[in-house]
């Protein structure tokens, strides 16, 4: 058991020693943040956040490419070519994918307009009705019966 333990620790961590340090660099993190980890055991996490070995290896590769002088845009493009569009953590803002970004706000705008229109219609049909008189009671009350009545009315006013 002991040897198996050491072997498995080595497998997960040994070769990754240098990889984790690479992730500290801001430039690597900036790119790693935009790519989904494809290890299959984490959910939707970026290569920057995931603590698995696959992510560590990916961060090292990004670091090497940056050192080699590659631009961030071309590194992202490289991953796109290799793994498909799903490697990007969010869809781009072009073409059909723009629909993804824009729709929620359109729905909100449409809803807000509809609501305002409905509210205006409702208030217009009700205009002309007087508001109820709300006269606050004055002075201190000691009579229990009146107090109970006031309590009831107070609740009705404040509710």
């Amino acid at each position: 058991m002991g040897r198996m333990l050491i072997a498995s620790i080595l497998l997960t961590a040994g070769t990754a020693a240098g990889n984790f340090l690479a992730a500290d660099r801001d430039a690597v993190a900036g790119i790693a943040r935009q790519i989904v980890c494809y290890c299959g055991t984490c959910s939707n996490q970026s290569v920057k956040d995931c603590t698995c070995g696959t992510a560590a290896a990916a961060r090292q590769e990004i670091g090497q490419r940056l050192d080699g002088g590659e631009l961030p845009a071309s590194i992202l493009e490289f991953y796109r070519q290799r793994y498909g569009e799903q490697i990007l953590i969010v869809p781009g803002k072009t073409g059909f994918n723009l629909v993804a970004w824009v729709t929620p706000f359109l729905v909100l705008l449409f809803g807000a307009t509809g609501l305002l229109w409905a509210l205006l219609r409702l208030t217009r049909s009700a205009s002309g009705q007087p508001a109820p008189a709300q006269s606050p009671p004055q002075g201190m009350i000691t009579d229990k019966k009146t107090m109970k009545r006031l309590e009831r009315e107070l609740r009705e006013i404040e509710d």
């Binding site: 569009e85 049909s125 508001a131 404040e158």
Partner: protein
């Protein structure tokens, strides 16, 4: 053999549910009370059978009966007893059985509550609940049978995923199911009201507690899931906008909208149709939520392996949604209440804006979750919609919601005058602005975080003012000393002040989310023994390693001393657990928690030859305010639903009196009483 008995229990309970559905419907349609009694008893019987089936399944787990497929797949001999019980809902089939059990129990409770009433609505309620049970029992009997046997049972099972072996994960599914299933009750009452023609407010009054109850359990279930992710999964975060997380959040949001708009109907008798729509929508989203989780339609970490469960659920969802709206449209002419709104600036309209933003939020989350499917259908290309999408889209809507939380309670019903608004908002707006100016000075640089916390200060001030002014008014009226006035005030208005407490809890959560999301710091290092890494104000020194034998795993960890300045603050012991194959090792993080921040330490690995350990440290500012907020919400929700004995007595007395008048009063009294019971006002 017990498994055979289990199978028979499932089959018989299907028959009971089917009979309850039929008898209930006929009883309602032809006003035949004995048929309702029969339907009721059928539901009781079904519950008994499902309790039996569940007990048999748990027993099989406890006795290591690996002839059953689910036991062999999700349990093993070495699994602690506590987790052998919870392994019952670790499998697809077992969790469906749990769902059916909870639904059956709730249905029995509801029909028991109204057993003596010769009522128009309740038979239909029994019928609808029976119908929903029929669906789940069909799936259990023919698609995912927990009593399926293996041809050649193994000597030992696979065991439960180690990340599920924590008390949090044991109660997380039952809490969520109580929430999901609980929403079937208001749904059943709404449809029953439509079917029976009892189109007054009675269905709302009867289901108010069930709505809060379900909303509460769903919310706590989601929060516990987030807490589990934070403690167990070990990546330093608590929410990944995973499809399954979203699937639970969306109905919770529409449920929150429902809770609020129901208040308008209770106070102003408006918006009947809208509330019906919200109830139907919320329940359908619950079913959609469980469909997304179970069918694996969007691959995620949570999903069970893809099965042919999907089509069955889709058909059920279509029937539920389509059928509900058909009945609603059929009754639409009779439902139109005299909607009256006195002013655009009134509490009614601010509540409606609350609904708008909550539903926009729900839509945005659902949209982002389902968009990959849409994209694949339209372009044939798979894409990912990950956390940055949701963060960017939800943030502005979230800010608007915080703003409304402060504004709504201070706007009067019917009409708010300018003078009134100015008086109410002076101090809160001042508090918010002070925040906006001071926060950047104490370290909050990110614009969204400044906005969010300033708005929280604004809302906090409005809540404090509400308590204060209420106490002051009561003190002036009655001469009671202020503490007594305060106590009596909140005790006589439990719903309102419990609600304010819930809002306060939400504010705490917003503060926690804002801090931990925007200002997280991280540092990764490889250290030899006695070497030190730095993060923020802390210094972590790697002292030693340790290994420990757990019940079903080998634990290997590191000991690190944490210093701040020159004093030792604590010792952290992050570790990794190694389970027998085929299971992956898990990360056991160690955390130092204070109200200000969490110091979160992950042990990534160890190279024994070089003697080098790999560590990732995170600082999560304000994160514990999230869990604290959860506790405040629990307190507030409990306070809000405490029975108000005076109000209950008054309501019941009124109902009885009116029923007496309807049956034995003079002609005018009879007509008036009938009209009141039907929901119209007395002239």
């Amino acid at each position: 053999m017990l498994a055979e008995i289990g199978r028979h229990c499932l089959t018989l309970s299907l028959l009971c549910a089917a009979w309850a559905a039929m008898a209930g419907f006929l009883s309602g349609k032809f006003h035949h009370f004995p048929l309702f009694i029969s339907a009721r008893r059928s539901l009781y019987a079904g519950t008994g059978l499902l309790v039996g089936a569940s007990a048999i399944l748990i027993h099989a787990n406890l006795t290591n009966d690996f002839r059953l497929w689910v036991v062999a797949s999700y349990s093993n001999i070495n699994l602690p007893t506590f987790y052998k019980i919870s392994a019952m809902w670790g499998s697809q089939a077992g969790s469906l059985l749990l769902w059916a059990l909870i639904l059956s129990c709730f249905s029995s409770i509801v029909v028991f509550q109204y057993r003596r009433r010769d009522d128009d609505m309740i038979p239909f309620v029994a019928s609808i609940l029976g119908g929903i049970l029929v669906f789940f029992l069909i799936v259990l009997n023919f698609n995912s049978n927990p009593f399926t046997l293996l041809a050649s049972p193994p000597a030992d099972g696979n065991g439960l995923n180690p990340q599920l072996q924590t008390p949090l994960m044991v109660i997380h599914p039952p809490l969520l199911y109580i929430g999901y299933v609980g929403f079937s009750i208001p749904f059943a009452f709404a449809i029953a009201a439509l079917l029976s023609g009892r189109l007054n407010d009675v269905w709302i009054h009867r289901t108010r507690r069930w709505t809060i109850f379900s909303w509460f359990f769903l919310g706590i279930g989601i929060l516990l899931g987030a807490y589990w992710a934070y403690i167990e999964l070990g990546w330093g975060g608590y929410w990944a906008w995973d499809p399954v997380e979203n699937a639970a959040l969306v109905p919770w949001l529409t449920g929150t909208a429902l809770l609020h708009s129901v208040m308008i109907q209770e106070k102003k008798r408006m918006l009947q149709v809208w509330n019906m729509v919200l109830v139907i929508l919320t329940y359908c989203l619950c079913i959609l939520g469980t469909f997304i989780t179970r069918s694996g339609v969007i691959s995620s970490v949570h999903s069970f392996t893809v099965s042919n469960l999907g089509p069955l659920f889709l058909v059920f969802l279509a029937l539920l949604f389509g059928g509900s709206f058909l009945v609603l449209i059929y009754r639409l002419p009779e439902l139109k209440s005299p909607n009256r709104l006195d002013s655009l600036v009134s509490r009614e309209s601010s509540f409606l804006f609350n609904n708008l933003f909550l539903l926009a939020c729900a839509f945005a989350i659902l949209w982002g979750t389902l968009f990959p499917i849409l994209s694949e259908a339209v372009r044939g290309v798979k894409i990912t919609v990950g956390p940055p999408f949701f963060n960017q889209v939800i943030a502005p809507i979230g800010l608007a919601l915080i703003f409304l939380t402060g504004v709504c309670p201070l706007i009067a019903w019917r009409r708010a005058t300018m003078k009134h608004l100015l008086r109410n908002f002076r101090y809160p707006v001042g508090a918010g602005m002070a925040g906006a100016v001071l926060l950047p000075l104490i370290g909050f640089r990110e614009i969204y975080s400044v906005l969010a916390i300033s708005l929280c200060l604004f809302v906090f001030a409005t809540i404090v003012l509400e308590f204060f002014r209420g106490t002051q008014a009561r003190h002036r009226m009655t001469g009671e000393p202020s503490p007594l006035a305060f106590f009596r005030l909140i005790n006589r208005n439990r719903r309102r002040y419990g609600g304010y407490l819930v809002h306060l809890g939400i504010l705490f959560m917003v503060v926690g989310i804002t801090g931990s999301w925007n200002y997280q710091q991280e540092s990764t290092a490889s250290l030899r023994i006695h070497e030190t890494m730095r993060i923020g104000p802390y210094e972590l020194t790697f002292e030693d390693t340790f290994s420990r034998k757990l019940r079903n795993a080998e634990q290997f960890g590191a000991v690190l001393t944490v210093r701040k300045g020159d004093r030792i603050v604590t010792t952290l012991r992050p570790a990794r657990n190694f389970y027998p194959p085929p299971q992956e090792p898990s990360t056991e993080v160690d955390i130092r928690s204070t109200l200000a921040e969490d110091l979160y330490l992950i042990f990534l690995g160890f190279d024994p030859e070089a003697g080098v350990g790999l560590f990732k440290a995170l600082i999560n500012p304000l994160v514990n305010w999230i869990w604290l907020g959860g506790l405040v919400i629990i307190l507030g929700a409990h306070f809000a639903v405490l029975p108000d004995r005076r109000r209950e007595r008054a309501w019941r007395a009124a109902e009885e009196l009116l029923q007496k008048l309807e049956s034995s009063g003079g002609r005018k009294a009879q007509v008036a009483a009938a009209r009141t019971l039907e929901g119209e006002s007395i002239g």
